[in-house]
C-alpha cells in the first residue's frame, strides 16, 4: 500500500513539468556555472557572508545593534539553512530512483521493494551530507547559536563557505586536493615526528626545575613550533639531552617544510595548463561574437591575423598541442580540442547560434574538413561554414556536408594567372585593394533607409566627389549590380553600395549619409 503511494507520488512529480522546472531552476542557480544568473546569486551570498563575519568579529569586543544581531543570527542563518536544504534537494533525483526500482521489480515480476529504493536514496543523500562543502555549509549555519562561546569557532566556517562561491578559491582547493596522497604521507610523517619529539622532550625536560617545559601539552606545543621553523622561544630546552632532541627536530623540520612546499609547487605546476585552459574557456563563453577557425597552420594564422586587424574576435580549435602552443605564441586565442568532436564544443560551451559569425574549416585535408563540418552541422543547422578545398573532386562532398562556401585556392590562382599575364597592372591594383596594405580599401556599405535616401546627395558633396569612387550599388531585391549609378537609380534600404577610398573618407561617407537633413 505504502509502495503504491510512493510510486504514485514519484510518477506524479516526474511528470509534473512545473516541479521539474522549479527543480531545474534551483539546480542551475546553485550548481550550474554556465547559468547566467548564478553569478548574481553567488555575489549575493558572498556579500551576506562578509556582512555576517564582520558582525561576528566586531561583536567580540564591541556592542552591536540588536537589529544587526537579529539579522545575523536569524535572517542570514535562515538563508544559509534554506540554501543547504535546496542543495540537499537538487543533489539527486529521488523520483528517478524510485521509478527505476519500481520498473526493475516490475520487470522481474516482484513486488515493489520500497525499502531498497529508500536505501538508495539515503546512500545518495548521505554522499551529499558528508561532502566537505556540505559539512562547511552546515557548520556555517551554526552561529545561529552564537551565544554559546565555544560555538563562536563556527565563524570560521562562514569564511570557508566563501570557497563555494569563488571559483579561484575552488581551483586552489582542487589543486591541493590532487596531491591528497602526498599531503597525507607528509601529515603522517610530521605527526610521527611531533609525537616522538614531544615524548622525548617531555622525558628529558619535565623533571628539570629550570626547564619551562612542564607538561606534555607544552612539549607538543614546543615540537610543533620548532618543527615548522617558527621557534617563538617562549619554551626552550635547557638540558643537553633536550637540546640534542631540538637539533634533530630542527633538521627534520627543514625536511618537512621542503616536502610540503615541493608538493604544493608540483601540484600547481601540473595544473597550470588546466587552469589556463579553464580561463580561456571562460573568456570564450564571454565573447559576444567571433570567427571559429578549425585547424591551425600558416593559412589559419594569416586568416586570424586579418580578422584581428579588422577588430574581429577569433577562436582557433586545433587537436595538435604543438600547433596550439604555436598559435598561442603568435598571440591567438587557441584551444587544444579536436574540432571534429562534439565533446569539444560541449566542453568549450560555444553557442553556435549566437556567438559564431562563421566557422572556417582550414584542416589540411578534405576528409577532416568534411568530418568537422558534419560535427558542427549536428550542433547547428544555421551557422555559416566556409572551408578550403584541397582536391577539386571533393567539392561536392564538402557542399553535401553542409559547408556554405568553398574556397579552392588552386582554381583561384589559375584565374589570377590569366589575369596577371594579360593585365598585370590591373591585377596588381585589385590585389592591393584586397590585401588592404596600401591605405585604400574597397568596402561595402549596407544602406539603411536614411542612408539610401541621402545616398546620391552625399556622393555629390565636394568632400567625396571625385575622391571617393562609388563603384556601384548592389540591389538586394533584383540581385543585380549597377555600376557607376546615376541618380535615376532608386536606392532602397538593404541595398549595398561598393566604394573605394581611404578608411577615413569611407567612414566620413557613412557618417554623412546618416546625418539628418542638411540645410
Amino acid at each position: 500500500m505504502i509502495g503504491r503511494w510512493v510510486v504514485g507520488i514519484a510518477f506524479f512529480l516526474h511528470d509534473s513539468s512545473r516541479y521539474r522546472r522549479l527543480k531545474k531552476f534551483f539546480h542551475n542557480l546553485l550548481e550550474n556555472p554556465t547559468y547566467p544568473y548564478k553569478k548574481f546569486f553567488d555575489y549575493a551570498m558572498m556579500v551576506l557572508i562578509v556582512i555576517s563575519v564582520y558582525i561576528l568579529v566586531y561583536h567580540v569586543k564591541y556592542e552591536v545593534k540588536p537589529d544587526w544581531l537579529f539579522f545575523n543570527n536569524y535572517v542570514i542563518s535562515v538563508i544559509f539553512l534554506l540554501e543547504y536544504l535546496l542543495r540537499f534537494w537538487v543533489y539527486s533525483d529521488n523520483t528517478k530512483v524510485i521509478i527505476e526500482q519500481y520498473e526493475h521489480d516490475l520487470f522481474l515480476q516482484r513486488p515493489f521493494n520500497v525499502l531498497a529504493a529508500l536505501r538508495q536514496i539515503i546512500v545518495i543523500k548521505l554522499k551529499f551530507v558528508f561532502s566537505l562543502s556540505a559539512i562547511i555549509d552546515l557548520l556555517a549555519i551554526m552561529p545561529f547559536f552564537h551565544e554559546i562561546r565555544l560555538l563562536r569557532i563556527f565563524i570560521l566556517f562562514r569564511v570557508f563557505k566563501l570557497f563555494r562561491y569563488a571559483k579561484s578559491l575552488q581551483q586552489f582547493i582542487s589543486i591541493l586536493a590532487s596531491k591528497k596522497f602526498e599531503f597525507l604521507t607528509l601529515a603522517i610523517f610530521a605527526s610521527v615526528i611531533i609525537t616522538v619529539s614531544s615524548v622525548l622532550i617531555y622525558v628529558m625536560e619535565a623533571n628539570n626545575p629550570e626547564s619551562p617545559i612542564d607538561t606534555l601539552f607544552e612539549a607538543v606545543y614546543w615540537s610543533v613550533v620548532t618543527i615548522f621553523s617558527v621557534g617563538y622561544g617562549d619554551f626552550v630546552p635547557v638540558t643537553s639531552e633536550g637540546r640534542t632532541v631540538a637539533m634533530v627536530i630542527i633538521v627534520v623540520g627543514i625536511a618537512v617544510i621542503s616536502f610540503a612546499t615541493s608538493i604544493a609547487v608540483s601540484a600547481f605546476t601540473e595544473k597550470l595548463d588546466e587552469i589556463k585552459e579553464d580561463k580561456l574557456i571562460d573568456d570564450v563563453s564571454k565573447f559576444d561574437q567571433f570567427y571559429l577557425i578549425c585547424g591551425y597552420g600558416p593559412l589559419a594564422a594569416q586568416v586570424a591575423r586579418r580578422f584581428l586587424k579588422d577588430g574581429k574576435q577569433v577562436i582557433i580549435i586545433e587537436s595538435d598541442h604543438h600547433k596550439v602552443a604555436e598559435a598561442q605564441k603568435e598571440g591567438f586565442l587557441a584551444l587544444a580540442y579536436n574540432p571534429a568532436s562534439l565533446y569539444s564544443y560541449n566542453t568549450i560551451r560555444i553557442n553556435f547560434e549566437t556567438q559564431v559569425i562563421a566557422a572556417i574549416l582550414l584542416e589540411e585535408s578534405d576528409v577532416l574538413n568534411v568530418y568537422t563540418a558534419l560535427t558542427i552541422r549536428e550542433i547547428s543547422k544555421n551557422v555559416r561554414m566556409l572551408s578550403i578545398l584541397l582536391h577539386h573532386e571533393n567539392r561536392k562532398k564538402l557542399l553535401l556536408a553542409g559547408i556554405n562556401e568553398v574556397v579552392y585556392t588552386q582554381e583561384l590562382v589559375g584565374l589570377m594567372s590569366k589575369e596577371v599575364s594579360g593585365r598585370p597592372v590591373a591585377f596588381e591594383v585589385i590585389h592591393a585593394l584586397r590585401s588592404e596594405n596600401n591605405g585604400v580599401f574597397i568596402e561595402e556599405i549596407v544602406l539603411d533607409a536614411l542612408m539610401a535616401k541621402q545616398f546620391f546627395e552625399t556622393t555629390k558633396l565636394s568632400m567625396f566627389h571625385k575622391r571617393l569612387i562609388v563603384l556601384g550599388v548592389y540591389k538586394q531585391l533584383s540581385q543585380s549590380f549597377f555600376f557607376n549609378p546615376s541618380n535615376t537609380l532608386v536606392v532602397e534600404e538593404g541595398d549595398v553600395a561598393i566604394v573605394v577610398g581611404t578608411r577615413s573618407l569611407i567612414d566620413e561617407f557613412r557618417i554623412q549619409m546618416r546625418r539628418k537633413k542638411r540645410v
Partner: protein, 233 residues
C-alpha cells in the same frame, strides 16, 4: 600586354589550374616538369609536358620560343625549387617576365629577390579571399564578376599614347563617371612598374605619356575611351 608564348613549370594542382586557364590564351604553350609522374599527370589532363632539371642551361627555351615574347609561370612543389628556378631563368633571360608562386611571405620576398616580376603568395591570396568572402561578400561577388566572369563590366589597363588628349591634364580635372561612364581606380607611371597610385588617395597626378590608367567600366565605354585616347588595337 600580350605574349605569344607561355610556359608553366611543374604540374601540381596549382600548375594544372594555371595551365587550364592560360593555355587557350597563348598560340604557343608548354609545360615543363621535373619527373615522369608529373609528365603522366599532365598527359591525363590533356597536356604534353617536357622533362627538365634545375641544372638546365635553358637552351631549349631559346630554341623553341622567342624569349622576348614569352611569359613563364614557376609553379613547382617546393618554394625553394621555385626560387632556384626563378634565379636560374633570370641569370640567362634578363627581360623574361617571370610569375612565381610562393607559399608564404618569406618565400615571396625571396622570389622577388631572385628576379620574379610578380609573385603570387598563395596563402595570402587565400586568406584575403576567405576574409573578404565573410566580411564583404558583395565585394567578392562583384570583383569576381569583373575579373573572371564573362560580364559586360571589365577592368582594363590603358596606356596613355603620346598624342593623347589626356596628356598634361590632372586626374581630378576629368569627371570620368559623367564623361566616359567608367571609373579610374589607379594610375601607374610605367607599364611594368609595380608602383601605382590609387586615384582615391590623391587626384593631383599629372597624366604623362606611357602612364597606365586602370579603369573599370562596360566594354563599350572602355572601347570609346580607348578610341578617344587614340589607342591603336
Amino acid at each position: 600586354m600580350s605574349y605569344q608564348s607561355a610556359i608553366v613549370f611543374g604540374f601540381n594542382e596549382f600548375a594544372k589550374q594555371i595551365a587550364l586557364q592560360i593555355a587557350p590564351e597563348y598560340p604557343s604553350f608548354a609545360i615543363f616538369v621535373m619527373n615522369e609522374s608529373e609528365r603522366l599527370a599532365a598527359k591525363v589532363a590533356g597536356f604534353e609536358a617536357m622533362l627538365f632539371d634545375l641544372s638546365e642551361d635553358w637552351k631549349i627555351i631559346e630554341e623553341k620560343f622567342d624569349p622576348s615574347d614569352l611569359i613563364v609561370f614557376c609553379a613547382l612543389d617546393q618554394d625553394a625549387e621555385n626560387v632556384f628556378l626563378t634565379i636560374s631563368l633570370r641569370s640567362i633571360f634578363d627581360e623574361l617576365p617571370i610569375i612565381a608562386l610562393a607559399g608564404d611571405h618569406e618565400s615571396a620576398a625571396k622570389m622577388k629577390s631572385a628576379g620574379a616580376n610578380k609573385v603570387m603568395a598563395t596563402q595570402q591570396i587565400t586568406a584575403n579571399i576567405i576574409t573578404e568572402m565573410l566580411e564583404k561578400p558583395t565585394v567578392t561577388g562583384v570583383l569576381h564578376d569583373i575579373l573572371y566572369e564573362e560580364s559586360f563590366l571589365k577592368i582594363a589597363q590603358l596606356v596613355v599614347p603620346k598624342e593623347c588628349f589626356l596628356v598634361g591634364k590632372y586626374l581630378h580635372e576629368i569627371d570620368w563617371g559623367e564623361e566616359f561612364d567608367l571609373l579610374v581606380l589607379a594610375i601607374v607611371d610605367h607599364q611594368l612598374s609595380a608602383t601605382f597610385s590609387f586615384t582615391s588617395k590623391g587626384h593631383h597626378h599629372h597624366i604623362d605619356p606611357e602612364d597606365v590608367l586602370v579603369v573599370v567600366g562596360y566594354d563599350d565605354s572602355i572601347a570609346a575611351l580607348s578610341e578617344a585616347m587614340g589607342i591603336i588595337k
